[in-house]
Symmetry: C2
């Protein structure tokens, strides 16, 4: 069961020859979730070996070009590749009229687009199924902007395979045991649930925070997140510029990661004014040691781990 | 005095990891002309070492995504880079309303855009100055489409530098001599123009033909073109598909190059169905030997040559 993030584009507004504009691809159990879609995302998908047609959900943080200009080409190519199944687009309420206006000039697609708008006031999930939920996190930037928190759902206990045969368990027994019950044998012996089951896999989570001014308050919503991406457009010496443009510094990203008790912090969206982003990583590490600066093509995998049994 | 074409993107509608969508950059005497602007053109410009802000003229063949989706990001980046000078956009009459609609959502730019629409009926130049003229060539595709012919203008004779001193020529003498006159010395000796001047540099030309169904009639307009790019989406066995989609085969491109007496034929915009484009080049070479298949990053330079003196 995979949980893998691939950085498709890591630049800020101005791409370089090595950094494409922002796009992240999250793979959860063979499903692909695209998060933002800067210019050239379809090229990056191909470069890193992903089939664009396997993406059914695209989450857009905000309608600035460096986060969204790749949608036109990606969706057009999906149509040319014969896509028939619906595509879900999540993002601010201006996304739908913008896309519809675009299709008015360039023609409609051979598949349906379903638009989903996060509530601006409450953090109700915008996507949810039996395994995963995605919640928007309202950010503060120069236009309506959302981060997204991807959380696996609490899993059931796993049966120890050998116990099924050993105790001759039926389906009804297994259902009860997976819900936490002990088992009573025909001879009246009580077999504790712990002897019959393995603890469930821990729920993994990824949060994508870009672009925003430093918002300490969102640490509550990010409590215990395993993998946190936070924009870090500026170095500490340019903190005023960060505030003026409603962006964050690397140090602020680290401060948030620490407050949230995150497992690992990824920073990116570096301003092209910095020749080397190592300074930004160093600044962040003074506050949060497990910080990494991302580059196009980087992959971060979260392994499946079980709750430790006492 | 340079005349150099760089292929920024050579794919057809579906880009691959090695081929970006269509964009060509023509450099004439330190001026840069961008021709079509597929997604990722700004990234390709940087990759191949060009400053996007040095481009003041962009020629769009038609409003299909693979020829135009890079405009949004390129123009946005020009704005962020502090561009103040006007940018000229040439293309079908739908280009201006499409761009204006786009800016309605993403905000206007800090520089003026001047739109120029080729006449659909006559081939009046859309750009002209003392050195160069650019003429549209009406093509036949699924939407209004123009090719563009870049032609250097007839140059004046060049003075042989040593003759100025030798005969004590004044400015008025030089002007007359450069217009073709002989020179009469104070002693009445007639110095022939050929002894005083070098023949002018030959006018170089480049034609960009994409996308179109095979149009033999345009060979007249392309007579003697030095460098001809012609789309070659399909191999000969798919000629019917070419006709159905209003595209051309490599063989048809070569037939046109031969009829026009072109110097060199470049083909590209290959359908991604062909794993190897060598077949298409081979088919073209059966009719026109000087055919080359283009790849992203290819550069083709036309040297300055003088008319040969008899």
């Amino acid at each position: 069961m995979s949980f893998e993030l691939t950085i498709l584009g890591s630049s800020s507004a101005l791409p370089t020859s090595k950094r494409f504009p922002t796009a992240h691809l999250l793979k959860v159990d063979e499903r692909f979730f695209l998060i933002d879609c800067g210019e050239g995302t379809q090229v990056q998908l191909r470069k890193f070996g992903f089939n664009p047609c396997r993406i059914h959900h695209i989450f857009i943080s905000h309608l600035h070009g460096d986060h969204v200009f790749g949608l036109f080409g990606l969706l057009s190519s999906m149509g040319m590749l014969g896509r028939k199944v619906a595509l879900n687009l999540y993002g601010p309420d201006t996304l739908e009229p913008m896309m519809k206006q675009h299709f008015g000039f360039f023609g409609s697609l051979p598949f349906e687009i379903r638009y989903h708008v996060p509530s601006p006031d409450v953090d109700l999930p915008v996507f949810e199924d039996e395994k995963l939920q995605v919640s928007p996190i309202r950010l503060k930037h120069r236009t309506t902007t959302f981060g997204y928190l991807f959380q696996e759902k609490k899993r059931a206990l796993n049966m120890r395979k050998e116990s099924i045969e050993k105790y001759g368990l039926g389906i009804a027994d297994v259902v009860r045991i997976k819900q936490g019950s002990d088992h009573v044998t025909k001879t009246g012996e009580i077999i504790s649930n712990q002897r019959l089951t393995l603890p469930p896999f821990l729920e993994r989570s990824y949060a994508y925070i870009s672009d925003t001014v430093f918002l300490p308050s969102i640490s509550e919503k990010l409590k215990g997140v395993d993998l946190l991406f936070h924009e870090a457009t500026f170095a500490n010496k340019d903190e005023k510029l960060a505030l003026a443009t409603l962006h964050s510094t690397a140090l602020q990203a680290a401060t948030l990661a620490k407050a949230a008790g995150a497992g690992k912090l990824l920073i990116g969206h570096f301003s092209s004014r910095y020749k080397d982003y190592k300074l930004l990583v160093e600044e962040a590490r003074t506050v949060f040691r497990d910080t990494y600066g991302v580059e196009d093509g980087d992959r971060y995998s979260l392994e499946q781990r079980r709750e430790t049994t006492e």
